[in-house]
Each structure stands twice: as structure tokens, then as C-alpha cells.
């Protein structure tokens, strides 16, 4: 197995915030209070999901709710827009398999 690629985003400050524990692809992960889900995932990993068209991983793009390219799924199949959703303790996110339950 290849070692996990380094996370995409790099924190430059505001590290005093309280940690928030969540689950990323079944593994425990840590974010900081005030992180969006996008920040929480991409400071731990290098992608948010796989493109449903088979053209590879995606990791968001505009961060302002316009591109709709940062959708992620919870284990329960709820779709979240990662750039505008705050991370909360106990969230269980999947990035490796996309269930695509509803394309609405």
C-alpha cells in the first residue's frame, strides 16, 4: 500500500482553537473549531471525493459555494457542501467511495 499522500491545505495560524474529533473514511481525524468541513478534510487528506465521471479525485475549487465541486457524503448518505458546512464533533465522512444517492 502506498503511504497516504500529504494533506493539501497548510495551516498558517489560529492554532489555539479547540480540537474537534471526526471520522474520515473510518479513521479518527482531528480538526479545529471554526473549520469548514473542507478545511477539516483537506488538512488531513488530499481529496474530498472521486469524480463520478472517472476523471480522478476532486478537492473543491471556489470555496464560496459557486462551483458545487466540494460535495461530500456522510456514512449515512447525506450530501454536504464541504466549503460552507462547519465541521462538528462526531461527523462521519466518506471520501473514497461516493454513494451518489441523490443527484438533485
Amino acid at each position: 500500500m502506498n503511504p497516504a499522500p500529504p494533506p493539501l491545505l497548510r495551516r498558517l495560524g489560529e492554532a489555539h482553537r479547540r480540537p474537534v474529533a471526526f471520522t474520515l473514511d473510518g479513521q479518527p481525524a482531528t480538526a479545529l473549531e471554526g473549520d469548514t468541513l473542507l478545511t477539516a478534510i483537506l488538512t488531513n487528506a488530499s481529496a474530498l471525493r472521486l469524480s463520478e465521471f472517472g476523471d480522478g479525485p476532486r478537492a473543491g475549487f471556489c470555496l464560496m459555494g459557486a462551483c458545487q465541486d466540494c460535495w461530500v457524503w456522510t456514512e449515512a448518505g447525506t450530501r454536504l457542501r464541504a466549503c460552507g458546512t462547519p465541521v462538528t464533533a462526531g461527523l462521519r465522512i466518506m471520501t473514497k467511495e461516493a454513494p451518489w444517492p441523490s443527484l438533485g
Partner: protein, 461 residues
């Protein structure tokens, strides 16, 4: 007289100044914004618990940012504020707003759209690789989340925001690999007569360049980007291949990149309301038709800020005030003491000169877009290539963007063409050998952004 129902969409500089003026005249407007807090794009607020002072966040604009935030805070309780609320449709005089899980149908006597803008983009080969973000996205990561988009970041595009975000990254301690500007070096000098309309902004631009130079950031002008290249894993950005102004090809090593060529106005709601649009030559995009104060052709509908004329934040504040004054006048209310629309219009004229100068100094590289290789993925939402779009122009004979959309699905995805629409129009126009305005304007559909399906059902029931 009964209180008229006045609604504003967008709590940026334009929407905030409009609300303030309406309150001063004795009205109680409803202000709707999709974001969690007020401020809009440039004056976006960081989440609770972050500690950086305004000077660190907004630099030379810190004074304006705190002034706007203070004005907004003073309005709390005197306006109805719906944050995290998406205006998703506008038709037959009713605005539809999703707030929490519920959609509300809101009739109005006057509605001001102050919806701002997003980055204007070019779909370069490799632009979907993790590590590639928009310029605005790169700035939001820094401003609102205290993160850099990577370890070694390159900025590619053109326009003032390109240099600004690069300088903000350098100042925050990120490694900036280079600034790659597609504008030829000489273009700035041709634009000087128009840009002299705002000498203070010219000086700010020069100071930014000096700061980048001091930080040792290489600035390449007149580049032609070729592709965003994957790293050895194939799963993220590893570099940018580009042609220098002298014709030599080079690859810049970087693991992240912010892309952007000025802005595109967020006009979906105006389109759904049935407003007329005109093609604006300077910004090469279709903009809603308004009068000097922001009245549209649809009765009761007004527009202000970057969502209708891309004049920047100061221009947005002025436009917000002008639109509010127009609302007051049309509803038969006296303007608050001291309101001087003529002076506001004059100030805005200087800004419009400057804006036209910017478009000359940092031109949109239409040729580059028109010539993108066939295999380039134009639509990020549905993975549709430039080749497929050209085929809809040729074999399928689509004369304009909405027909091409029906054939190729470019612009039909869940971003509704916000990322690819303007570039797609250039590709289609070039393939048909006509000017870009002849292939028309991509029409939006409701909902302007995807909604949870449950919300729609609830309103219908």
C-alpha cells in the same frame, strides 16, 4: 402609509449600504444572504474564535472593512437579517428563499439584488486536479480559515486580484512560487490614461508589486499557460507548464495554484426575473440592463454592486446607496437628510473609467480560450470536453450557447455554468467563426443552486 416590503439579497458592501440608507429613511428591510455572516466577499468575516486583527485580514482595506462591519452591527435589530439563506428563485414578483430546511415564498414591493461576483475562469487542461483552486478560493482559505492552499503556491491569471492574493500569501508566510500573468507587460501602459481616474488605487497596485519584489516572488508577464501538470502520484498538482513571453517553454514547480481572470457577475436571479441584458465589451460578459441608479426593466426590481457592474468594493457601496435612493423615490418616501445622488453618480463615473482601464491592462485572453485543446475538460460538473462543445457547434449546428448546452450539456451541470460558461461561449463562438456576443447568454434555471429535494416539496405543499 403601511410599511412597504423591501428585500435585499446580499450582505456585502452594496447590500449593507442599501440597508443602512433604507433604515435611515424609516424602513425595515429584510436582508438575505447565503453566507453565515455579513461582509460579502472582500470584507468576509472570519469565524468566531479566530483572533487575527483586521489589519492582518484586510491590509490596506482594514479601515473600510471595520467601517462596513460597524455599520452592519448598528443595523442589527433594525433590519430583519436572514443569514445562511439562499434566494433560489425569482419569478412573478415573488422571491423564493431557502432558510434552514424550509423554503419561503416572499412577495415584495421592492427588491434589491446585490449578489456580487465570482472568479472568471479558464478551463485549462488539468484544472480539476486537487491543489488547483480559484484565486478567490485561495483568498478565502487564507482569510476565513487561516490556511494556505498548499506548501508552494503559484498564482495564474490576470487582474488586480492576482497580485493582491499573491502578496497576501507572501505576507502570511506562505511560499509563493511565482505570479504568472497572461497580460502582456506593455498593456498596463496603454491603460494608464483610463486608470489615472483613480490615482490612489494605481499607487496601491504599485505598492503591491514592490512588496512582491521584496519578498522575492518571481512575476512573469505575457505568459501562455499550457497545462496544470499532475505530480508523480497523478492525483494532485505538481507544476504548471507555460510559455514565456519570449516563446520558451517552462514548467513551474508547485503543489497548489490559484486561478482567476477578474470576475464574472452573479446574474442568475436577474435572468429568472426576466430582466433585459446587454453585452458589456470591457468585461466581455452579459450584464443586466439598469438605469444610472440601478433600476431594472422589471418594476420593483433594482440591482447594485458587482452583480450588475464590476466596479469593485467602493463602487458597490455607492451603487447600494443609489439603488436604495431609487427605491425610496419610487415608493414615495423622502430620502434621508444629506443624500446626494448626483455626487454619488459622479464618483461612480470615475470608477467606471478605471474599470475600463483595468480591462485593457489585464485583458481576458480570448484567443487562448478559443484555442484550448479538444481534450480539455471544460465542464467540471459533468466532465465535458472542448472537443464535444466544438462538435455541437459544427456537426450539430448549435448557433448559440443554450442550444449548445442542450446538445453538449456544457453549462447544464450543477454549477449552472458559473465556472465554464464564459469560456464555453468563447469556444463556441470561435468554432462558428462569429463574435462571442453572437452566441448569446447562457440562461439560468431555478433553483440557482442545488437544494435539498425536501425543501422544494415543502413549499409546493
Amino acid at each position: 402609509m403601511a410599511q412597504p416590503r423591501v428585500t435585499i439579497v446580499g450582505a456585502g458592501p452594496a447590500g449593507t449600504r442599501a440597508a443602512e440608507l433604507l433604515v435611515a429613511a424609516g424602513l425595515h428591510p429584510l436582508l438575505v444572504d447565503e453566507a453565515a455572516d455579513n461582509g460579502g466577499q472582500i470584507y468576509r468575516r472570519q469565524p468566531a474564535g479566530f483572533r487575527r486583527p483586521p489589519a492582518a485580514l484586510y491590509g490596506t482595506e482594514a479601515g473600510r472593512a471595520t467601517a462596513l462591519h460597524a455599520s452592519f452591527d448598528a443595523l442589527r435589530g433594525r433590519i430583519e437579517h436572514w443569514p445562511e439563506s439562499l434566494a433560489w428563485n425569482l419569478r412573478d414578483g415573488v422571491l423564493h428563499v431557502l432558510r434552514g430546511e424550509r423554503s419561503h415564498a416572499l412577495p415584495f414591493d421592492a427588491l434589491i439584488l446585490a449578489t456580487g461576483a465570482t472568479d472568471r475562469l479558464i478551463p485549462l487542461p488539468g484544472w480539476t486536479l486537487p491543489g488547483v483552486f480559484t484565486l478567490g478560493g485561495a483568498q478565502i482559505a487564507l482569510k476565513a480559515q487561516a490556511c494556505a492552499i498548499g506548501r508552494r503556491v503559484a498564482f495564474l491569471g490576470s487582474g488586480p486580484l492576482l497580485y493582491l492574493v499573491a502578496a497576501q500569501y507572501a505576507k502570511a508566510g506562505a511560499e509563493v512560487a511565482a505570479v504568472l500573468d497572461t497580460a502582456p507587460a506593455g498593456a498596463r501602459w496603454r491603460a494608464l490614461p483610463l486608470m489615472a481616474a483613480r490615482p490612489a488605487l494605481l499607487a496601491k497596485g504599485a505598492a503591491l508589486l514592490a512588496r512582491l519584489r521584496r519578498a522575492g516572488v518571481p512575476v512573469h508577464r505575457g505568459v501562455t499557460p499550457l497545462r496544470l501538470c499532475p505530480d508523480a502520484s497523478g492525483a494532485r498538482l505538481g507544476g504548471i507548464a507555460f510559455r514565456q513571453a519570449d516563446g520558451r517553454e517552462a514548467v513551474l514547480d508547485c503543489d497548489a495554484s490559484g486561478l482567476g481572470w477578474h470576475l464574472r457577475a452573479e446574474t442568475q436571479l436577474a435572468g429568472l426575473a426576466g430582466c433585459g441584458f446587454d453585452f458589456d465589451r470591457a468585461s466581455r460578459q452579459w450584464l443586466p440592463r439598469i438605469d444610472a441608479d440601478g433600476r431594472s426593466e422589471v418594476p420593483g426590481l433594482y440591482m447594485a454592486g458587482d452583480g450588475v457592474r464590476l466596479l469593485g468594493a467602493d463602487g458597490a457601496e455607492i451603487a447600494g446607496r443609489l439603488a436604495a435612493l431609487a427605491v425610496l423615490r419610487d415608493l414615495g418616501f423622502a430620502p434621508p437628510a444629506g443624500a446626494d445622488p448626483a455626487a454619488l453618480r459622479r464618483r461612480r463615473q470615475a470608477m467606471d473609467r478605471f474599470r475600463r482601464g483595468l480591462a485593457i491592462a489585464f485583458p481576458w485572453p480570448a484567443q487562448l480560450v478559443a484555442g484550448l485543446p479538444d481534450e480539455t475538460l471544460v465542464c467540471r460538473c459533468e466532465a465535458i470536453t472542448a472537443g464535444e462543445l466544438r462538435r455541437s457547434a459544427g456537426a450539430l449546428d448549435a448557433p448559440e450557447v443554450n442550444r449548445a448546452k442542450a446538445f453538449s450539456r456544457v453549462g447544464m451541470g450543477r454549477c449552472q455554468g458559473r465556472m465554464c460558461g464564459l469560456a464555453g461561449a468563447e469556444i463556441l463562438a470561435a468554432a462558428r467563426g462569429v463574435p462571442v456576443e453572437e452566441v448569446g447568454r447562457l440562461r439560468g434555471q431555478a433553483p440557482v443552486k442545488p437544494l435539498p429535494v425536501a425543501a422544494l416539496r415543502e413549499e409546493e405543499a
